[in-house]
């Protein structure tokens, strides 16, 4: 065994790279996050809203952005490339080239004056060319790190930015820097590019001004986009009232070398159409598609809402070309409608739903890291180890391995963190730093406040009379020291704050500068270094909330700034010491379910050095995978399963309980106590984390299509087994898709059945090339690279006949023969087939026991009785209840590789908490005034996190600080404000209100 290094390099800082980095850093590993752009955030930062919840993308990504930027064990290297990689798994040396930024990262305060005075403009990459930026720029206002950069290719060297930069951060002689990183593992998550549709000249992109790409349209929709959220078209700035989307531009298109499906476009086009309609009522939205592939959790329901409630038009037709009408710049589309009639329609704007394609540098990355790419230019992976590349120690996250949506990317990102750290888990905590602080100084009862007013160059000082505000602060109660500084955030001012705390015996500090959302931790750290409790601090934003928004009225801006400082004084005078408490976590996890998901999670946790208990209700491990006998190029499922089971059974860190069920669960994150029933015995297991991996099952469509009445009618899994046991010698097979899926009562798409049907069809064709296989379908949903087998099946003569729900296929008997009648929606004709077998692609349905289990562990279910995660996009494997995670098909139907990724993701999330020496509480948490509590329990009912409970014996509410997230819901529902939120106590808020209304 060679040397191992407790650090990981992550290449690419989109949502995937950030999530991987956070999980790794939280699990005790040093992370180097290398990004070629000047800010982290990736594509998600430029999206408007996200499907299927229509959450604001920036709102959901911002905590991840800021958290990554702030983490003291994540070193971010932006504007950087890889030069070379040496060494091997456990001990790599990666040489990184940091390109010149021409602005000193240490000195830049992000104030933005350089950009404001830059006379040169360039096309904004972040805005996808829809608007302009300066040559000195940040890509978007919330950029992390908030450090400007000079675009050397555009800069004319006028020197203005240097002249205006008060922080002396501009450095025109900045040079390329090389840095050698010594890391144990490497994660590649370089993201993707969007297809450039100008190569498809028939659509006129680049020639017709009102043809835009879907990602450009995201920016047009965005409230912080080029038109401030007004949906306007480029040619004349008018509201487009008729908008068309053309799907599969650069996807499912062999002519442009993109044979695969991009997996996300159907749902994002649906989202864009809904949002366009929400922006301007009466907008007519039409989506031209090939197959509607809304396969993910909640997507089909979303598609139905778009159709039925929003009135988005969906037309199944491949559009050959677009014409521009020169006078109006409107666009003419000719298509065939459902009846097969040729129609012509004029649109004001056309959005091309561009696919995801490999970035230009994927090849270079592959060469440098010595890994294989697949035929499409994405990273090559194995079906049963989807997070590994072809080189040991190098792992893959996000869309580098295949096009995928945000939740899949986030789950995989956590999963890859587990893989990357599993092999170097012996080195946990070896390279991370724990900051040492001096002991807190004892403070007197009398508040002694120091107020530091910031000029922020001329950002604040140019409008607000900062010296006057400082003078005013002197007159406020308990204020004993004031000063004003050019940049309060600069290193020298930090030292001045520390000196002032000592010299004037300060026990409270206020900074009047920028937003607490980015700068509060910096100042809290400073006062902590000086021995003050970090909660004896307040930051009031005289920049974002004053000087920047009231530049035409300096007098009133100054007055407002004074008010704000006075309000901050009222608050901080009443701030109390907060000491975050902590608990230790058990170093074991309880995994419910012994299928491929549960086993993967257990193996990952065992690699991390933790114990894993698997409880399985059956008498054997394996779950649903035991029923799968064929895969195509992906391998032999039973062989793979046997290998998994052997690994689990041999692993000393894993204990398996078969025939076992969970009776009860008590405790909380880090300290759960589970009662497990195994036969007549009841065992008590202690666990730090719980992973729910209970799976799902194939629907048995009794009573439909003669299922249960004629043995020749069977489900796909039954057919798969039959193929394995007996082979197939018949002539005609009919497969019927969407049996029990996508219909009333079970609206969701089961995601896997199209691929499963085609796989079985190909197995049949392999056994008997002359067999006729008819697949009766609604939409073929072979998303991602699965599109390849769809094409292969057609080439091999599998016949695909489309039906619609109003004319479902009919299966009956004609004498002894089975007879299937189907109305083919494409040729408008009834077709009669006499098959030897009818195979039903039945839905994947949740177990009935989910409801009961949900109550035992107190986690919610979706309307369809799958388990419901904390957040559809950004927390796909966490439950809202801390310490409990989920993975596999109990979350929603999914493929084996997706299940494995997600299971590793759940293991990673559990690792982040179990690997900590102590779990710390939120500083801002609820506190109960025990004397006044009447025990009514309203707080308990209104807590979303199960963090406050009325004690059965004392009848008094108790806060579990480990679970409390600090939202304050309990405080304001309580008839006596018995629970209150630290630092947001009623008396503080009332005092602030009164101060706000006082004359200045």
């Amino acid at each position: 065994m060679g040397k191992k290094v407790g650090a990981v390099m992550v290449l690419g800082a989109g949502i995937s790279g950030m999530q991987t980095s956070l999980d790794l850093a939280e699990s005790g590993f040093k992370v180097y996050l290398v990004e070629k752009k000047s800010s982290i955030g990736g594509v998600m930062a430029s999206l408007d809203k996200t499907f299927p919840t229509n959450d604001c993308a920036m709102c959901t990504i911002a905590p991840t952005l800021v958290g990554t930027g702030r983490h003291h064990n994540i070193e971010i290297l932006t504007v950087s490339d890889i030069e070379k990689v040496e060494g091997e798994a456990g001990d790599f040396s990666v040489t990184v080239i940091k390109h010149p930024r021409y602005i000193d990262e240490e000195k830049c305060t992000g104030c933005g004056l350089c950009s404001q005075y830059c006379p040169i403009e360039a096309i904004s990459e972040f805005e996808r060319g829809v608007s302009l930026r300066n040559a000195t720029f940040v890509p978007f206002p919330q950029a992390v790190p908030l450090v400007y950069r000079i675009d050397r290719t555009k800069c004319i060297g006028c020197g203005l930015c240097e002249q205006y930069c008060k922080a002396n951060a501009v450095n025109y002689s900045d040079e390329e820097e090389k840095k050698v990183l010594n890391v144990g593992s490497i994660v590649l998550s370089p993201g993707f590019e969007t297809f450039d549709p100008s190569v498809k000249s028939e659509y006129g992109y680049g020639r017709f001004s009102n043809v835009v790409t879907s990602i450009q349209f995201e920016r047009i929709l965005s409230a912080s986009g080029p038109y401030a959220g007004h949906v306007l078209r480029p040619s004349d700035g008018k509201h487009p009232m008729k908008i068309a989307w053309i799907q599969c531009v650069g996807s499912r298109d062999e002519q442009v070398g993109k044979g695969y499906c991009s997996a996300v476009c159907c749902t994002y086009a649906t989202k864009e159409a809904i949002i366009a309609k929400e922006h301007t009522a009466g907008t007519d939205c039409t989506i031209f598609y090939m197959d509607m592939r809304t396969y993910g959790k909640g997507f089909e329901e979303y598609y139905n809402i778009a159709k039925d409630e929003y009135g988005v038009n969906y037309i199944k037709c491949r559009i050959p070309h677009i014409e521009e009408i020169p006078e109006t710049k409107d666009l003419k589309i000719i298509y065939r409608d459902e009846k097969g009639e040729q129609k012509e329609e004029i649109f004001n704007l056309v959005v091309l739903s561009v696919g995801m394609e490999p970035s230009e540098d994927f090849k270079e990355i592959a060469d440098k890291f010595g890994i294989e790419l697949n035929e499409y230019g994405f990273c090559d992976t194995n079906y049963f180890s989807p997070l590994k590349t072809s080189r040991p120690g190098v792992f893959v996250g996000g869309s580098f391995s295949s096009p995928k949506d945000i939740p899949d990317a986030v789950a995989q990102a956590s999963g890859v963190a587990s893989k990357a750290s599993g092999s170097i888990s012996s080195e946990r905590n070896s390279l991370v730093t724990v900051k040492e602080y001096p002991e807190e100084i004892k403070i007197g009862d009398e508040p002694r406040i120091g107020v530091f007013c910031c000029h922020c160059g001329i950002n604040i000082g140019g409008i607000v009379d900062v010296p006057a505000v400082t003078e005013f602060a002197k007159t406020l109660p308990n204020v004993v020291h004031t000063e004003h500084n050019l940049y309060t955030c600069s290193q020298d001012t930090q030292d001045k704050i520390k000196d002032a705390i000592k010299e004037h015996n300060l026990n409270r500090v206020i900074v009047a500068s920028c937003t607490p959302r980015t700068h509060e931790p910096l100042f809290q750290n400073t006062i902590r270094e000086a021995g003050l409790n970090p909660y004896l601090f307040d930051l009031t934003s005289t920049r974002e909330h004053v000087s920047w928004v009231h530049k035409n009225d300096p007098k009133k801006a100054t007055e407002k700034a004074k008010h704000m400082v006075a309000m901050a004084v009222e608050k901080v005078r009443r701030n109390k010491l907060v000491h975050r408490s902590s608990v230790e976590s058990e170093k074991a996890a309880l995994i419910i379910g012994g299928g491929i998901a549960g086993m993967t999670a257990a193996l990952d946790l065992a690699d991390q050095g933790f114990l894993a208990y698997i409880i399985e209700k059956e008498n054997v491990l394996g779950g649903n995978l035991r029923n799968i006998y064929h895969l195509l190029s992906e391998g032999d499922p039973q062989k793979e399963l046997a290998a998994f089971i052997e690994k689990v059974e041999k692993n000393p860190n894993i204990e398996v309980f078969i025939n076992a069920t969970l009776e009860s669960l008590s405790g909380y994150i880090g300290n759960f106590i589970a009662k497990v029933k195994q036969g007549d015995e009841c065992k008590e297991l202690k666990a730090g984390a719980i992973i729910v991996a209970t799976g799902a099952k194939e629907f048995k469509p009794v009573g439909q299509y003669l299922y249960g009445q004629d043995p020749r009618v069977m489900t796909q899994l039954e057919f798969d087994k039959k193929l394995h046991d007996e082979g197939f010698s018949g002539k005609n097979i009919v497969m019927i898709q969407c049996v029990g899926s996508r219909e009333k009562g079970r609206e969701y798409c089961s995601r896997i059945c199209c691929t499963e049907a085609i796989k079985n069809a190909l197995v049949v064709k392999e056994l008997n090339p002359d067999a006729n296989v008819y697949v009766l379908y609604r939409d073929i949903r072979t998303y991602g690279f699965r599109e390849k087998i769809y094409r292969e099946a057609r080439e091999k003569g599998v016949l695909f006949l489309r039906y619609t729900t109003d004319k479902k296929p009919l299966v009956d008997k004609d004498g002894d023969d089975l007879k299937v009648t189907v109305h083919n929606a494409n040729i408008k004709k009834d077709i009669v087939i006499r098959p030897d077998v009818v195979v039903l692609s039945a839905a994947t349905v949740p177990y009935e026991e989910n409801g009961e289990l949900g109550q035992v562990i107190k986690v919610p279910l979706t309307a369809q009785s799958f388990f419901l995660e904390a957040h559809m996009k950004i927390k796909p494997v966490d439950f809202a209840t801390a310490g409990i995670f989920l993975c596999g098909t109990c979350h929603s139907p999914k493929f084996i590789d997706e299940t494995i990724s997600q299971a590793s993701g759940a293991a990673s999330r559990a690792t982040t908490l179990m690997s900590k020496k102590e779990l710390f509480t939120e500083g801002v948490s609820a506190v109960v005034d025990e004397v006044r509590c009447a025990g009514c329990g309203l707080c308990e009912e209104n807590c979303a996190y199960d963090a406050i409970k009325v004690d059965e014996e004392t009848g008094i509410a108790e806060v579990n600080e480990v679970l409390c997230m600090g939202c304050g819901a309990c405080s304001c529902i309580c008839p006596s404000n018995v629970p209150y939120l630290r630092q947001f106590e009623p008396k503080q808020l009332i005092a602030m209100v009164d101060k706000a209304l006082e004359a200045a």
Partner: protein, 270 residues
């Protein structure tokens, strides 16, 4: 031009509204920051108080702000579905509905209180909301409480009663259970419709407002039903109905007579 709106017409003689804004930390405060970053100009009328979640805003704070003389109060939170704490903004909406209903009993313009959703990417929307609300308050005019006249005294009395009502168990439990009753199913597994719930809320809010008025007025000095009716403007019949109820609950107690009318005082008072 982005951020280059014409200067606001805020001449020094004109009425300058004072507005208190309660902004949630995660979306609206970030939206306000973005307005700043984007240099979107707006009136200087707003004083921001950052709270962790719009749902954590005690309904008594907006009322307190109005009582302290605020010309307007803005509550801002994440758009429905966006809440950082799962569903806090829905809670904010529930409390806001209650507040709006209470305001009907107060001689103050209902529009002085407004709830708005502003996301982290809606700097422009933040600007718009602040500007529009300022214009609206300018049209309505100053909070009459500032005049310190009889009318002001009356309104303060009403606001005190409203604050008292929001602190009471009945209103709090109603808000606290609303989701259960209307979405998850009540104790019988029934779901009440919006209309049914509205009706119940209207009744309870009116009750609680009147009762709070009564309780506050007899806190120190005993009063008859007639005294209370005169001071509050409610009919003697209404007042008596609630006095009887409060008496039954031992919240107020009879305390001597004035001619033929019993006087009442708050339990434990005087």
């Amino acid at each position: 031009m982005e951020g280059e709106k014409p200067p606001m017409d805020e001449n020094s003689l004109e009425f300058k509204p004072k507005i208190v804004g309660f902004l949630c930390n995660w979306c609206s405060y970030a939206g306000a920051d973005l307005a700043g970053v984007s240099r979107l100009q707006m009136p200087t009328t707003l004083r921001v108080i950052r709270v962790m979640c719009s749902g954590s805003l005690d309904p008594k704070f907006p009322l307190s702000a109005l009582k302290s003389g605020a010309d307007g109060v803005l509550i801002m939170g994440c758009h429905p579905g966006d809440c950082h704490y799962i569903s806090g903004n829905y809670e904010a909406q529930r409390k806001y509905n209650i507040l709006k209903k209470l305001l009907k009993f107060i001689d103050l313009e209902n529009e002085r209180l407004q709830l708005e959703w502003v996301s982290a990417s809606e700097g422009a929307r933040f600007q718009q909301v602040v500007s529009d609300f300022t214009s609206k308050i300018k049209k309505i005019g100053p909070n009459p409480i500032q005049k310190k006249d009889e009318k002001a005294k009356k309104i303060i009395g009403q606001l005190d009663a409203a604050i008292h009502a929001t602190e009471g168990f009945r209103l709090r439990s109603l808000v606290g259970r609303e989701k259960k009753i209307m979405e998850l199913g009540n104790a019988y597994g029934e779901i009440l419709s919006r209309e049914e719930m509205e009706k119940i809320e209207d009744e309870i809010i009116e009750d609680e407002f009147i009762r709070s008025n009564i309780v506050l007025r007899v806190e120190r000095v005993p009063k008859t039903v007639e005294d209370i009716a005169l001071a509050t403007g409610f009919s003697t019949e209404t007042v008596f109905k609630h006095v009887a109820r409060l008496w039954k609950k031992q919240i107020i107690l009879p305390h001597g007579y004035k001619k033929l009318s019993p006087m009442y005082i708050k339990a434990g008072g005087a």
